[in-house]
């Protein structure tokens, strides 16, 4: 093990799946998600020794990920954000329903602002506390609360989502 990478490999192995799933909810595309996770980890690695000791690596890497994603969006490096992605890999179960869920969630998330989307994904999907989300986004806890409220309200109004919720199709 080289200096400065203590636990890095283990962290990547243990967390890559969860990070990629979060990244997919942010980007709506598996290739972009993979790219985003790799970029965030590559940015964290040179400072790993410090992160491991001083910060919560999980929070740090997620912060790197969200910030990178926000930058991508600002820069429009990636052109239009894809939506309604083609299902990836083998999908067991009811393929049509799965695709419907994926497309609906993706489109609905796409209607949120970047910040609303990030707060929602981190708070609801990753189950981070409000304080952790604030730390990740570098904003106040109050901002997390109000952004979260607006994001949820917006999703609730979305007929695609409310219909899925009622049927509990998943």
């Amino acid at each position: 093990m080289s200096a400065g990478t203590d636990g890095f490999t283990q962290f990547v192995e243990a967390r890559q799946r969860a990070l990629q799933r979060t990244a997919w909810l942010l980007t709506g595309d598996w290739a972009l998600a993979e790219d985003l996770v790799q970029t965030a980890l590559a940015r964290s690695w040179p400072r790993w020794e410090r992160i491991r000791r001083r910060d919560d690596p999980e929070v740090y890497v997620r912060r790197a990920m969200v910030n990178t994603w926000a930058t991508w969006n600002r820069r429009r490096w990636r052109g239009e954000r894809p939506s309604g992605a083609v299902p990836d890999g083998q999908a067991p179960g009811d393929m049509a329903t799965e695709v419907a869920v994926r497309v609906a969630v993706q489109k609905s998330l796409g209607s949120l602002t970047d910040r609303q989307r990030a707060v929602l994904v981190l708070r609801v999907f990753d189950d981070l506390s409000e304080a952790q989300v604030a730390q990740v986004l570098g904003c106040a806890i109050g901002t997390v609360k109000s952004t979260m409220a607006r994001a949820v309200a917006r999703l609730r109004e979305d007929p695609r989502i409310s219909e899925l919720m009622e049927r509990e199709v998943w």
Partner: protein, 420 residues
């Protein structure tokens, strides 16, 4: 709603088609660095959250009327930088603060010129741009034009003559010299991996850059701004202090030879830039301070809840001094009589009598103190607290009692520095 929504998001996310491996990430990190060094990438890095306070001499706090004449006694000012992007000046005479200077949110490091006229703030957080250093005129409390530096500027040190500020950029693995007369950046100097700390010798001839990632130290000749040969130290070195006579640099190694329970200190002879054998201290050694007479170096061992005094004449460690839980910062009064140790997990500061190396009664300061700085007159020690509603707590060093906290206007982690 949240539960249901969570299940919905969970169902939508599905399974990633590929695994991300550490190997691909490391390859990519290497490419990123190569690209950056070639000057091709304009993308910067990340956030280490810290509140940094600097105490300067002779500067009026913002909000105060300008000094009527030079005849008035100069007084110190405490500058606090928070991740919210505010720089706040606290007047130690009244412990009140002026209107904060607002920068973009971020955090890196803060340093002040020896004449107290300019505070340099390194900002490494928002938007992954290249790092920036912002000069703040302390007389008017106005921010000057940002100076672009490398990625993730994590440390700044200014030469004793005040002419050059050296900025260590953790991700780009470079040090950028800034000419303080013109506030322009010079050519970046390549150093080791994750340079996080810098110290300059009292004669100003050498800047020692601690590379926490690669476990070595790069000496930079300040006359030519060229890097010398790396000096190997331990694993995860993260603190450095130079004796007042400039002869020895002490580097604190978090661990040694892969043994996480073996904090050590490496003494570097600054005349030859060679290291001496490891001085063994406690677990998770993380901070160091040297007495003004240069006779003793005190090392805080975060993991073993002790402070190890090192006799600098023989480089031998003394009996560890028991302090609170998680000693993480240390500062010594200008008269050298007391070392104040910040215990992050106990929320206390332990004063150590340096004549006898005995700890005094811990002083309760906050819930998560992480930094300390002492005013030049030695009367007040300012402790930065990391807990919600972040505050700076003044300790009266005559009575060792904590005063009313001063709100620094920010959130998150403090680190504190001091000017001569």
């Amino acid at each position: 709603m949240d539960r249901q929504l969570r299940d919905l998001l969970d169902a939508a996310a599905g399974e990633p088609p590929h695994r991300v491996t550490a190997e691909t990430v490391l390859r990519r990190a290497a490419r990123r660095r190569a690209k950056y060094l070639a000057g091709a990438a304009a993308v910067a890095v990340i956030a280490v959250v810290a509140v940094v306070a600097v105490i300067t001499a002779g500067i009026p706090a913002p909000g105060h009327p300008p000094r009527p004449s030079a005849a008035r006694q100069p007084r110190a000012t405490v500058y606090v930088y928070t991740p919210a992007g505010t720089v706040t000046a606290i007047d130690p005479a009244t412990n009140t603060h002026g209107k904060p200077v607002k920068l973009r949110a971020g955090l890196g490091a803060i340093a002040v010129t020896p004449d107290g006229q300019t505070v340099y703030v390194a900002d490494n957080v928002v938007g992954f741009r290249s790092g920036q250093v912002i000069p703040i005129d302390t007389a008017t409390s106005t921010a000057g034009k940002p100076i672009n530096v490398g990625m993730a500027p994590d440390a700044i040190a200014i030469t004793p003559d005040g002419k050059t500020a050296y900025v260590a950029c953790s991700f780009s693995m470079t040090v950028t010299p800034i000419d303080t007369a013109t506030n322009t950046a010079g050519k970046p100097i390549n150093v080791g991996m994750a340079p996080d700390v810098i110290a300059i010798t009292p004669d100003g001839k050498t800047a020692y850059v601690v590379n926490s990632g690669s476990g070595n130290v790069t000496p930079i000749d300040t006359a030519t701004n060229t890097a010398g040969k790396h000096i190997g130290v331990g694993t995860g070195p993260d603190a450095i202090a130079i004796t007042p006579d400039g002869k020895t640099a002490y580097v604190v190694n978090y661990s040694t030879g892969g043994n996480l329970n073996a904090g050590t200190v490496t003494a570097i002879d600054t005349a030859t830039n060679t290291r001496e054998k490891f001085i063994h201290v406690g677990t998770e050694a993380s901070a160091i301070a040297i007495t003004p007479d240069g006779e003793t170096a005190y090392v805080a061992n975060k993991g073993s809840n002790t402070v190890t005094p090192i006799d600098t004449a023989t480089n031998t460690p003394g009996t560890p001094i028991k302090v609170g839980n998680g000693p993480t910062a240390i500062a010594i009064t200008p008269d050298g009589k007391t070392a104040y140790v910040v215990n992050v997990f106990s929320g206390t500061v332990t004063p150590i009598d340096t004549a006898t190396n005995t700890p005094g009664t811990p002083i309760k300061v906050g819930s998560e103190p992480v930094a300390i700085a002492i005013t030049p007159d030695g009367k007040t020690a300012y402790v930065g607290d990391n807990s919600p509603g972040n505050t700076i707590i003044p300790i009266d060093t005559a009575t060792n009692t904590a005063g009313q906290p001063v709100n620094d206007g920010g959130r998150d982690t403090p680190v504190i520095v001091i000017t001569p």
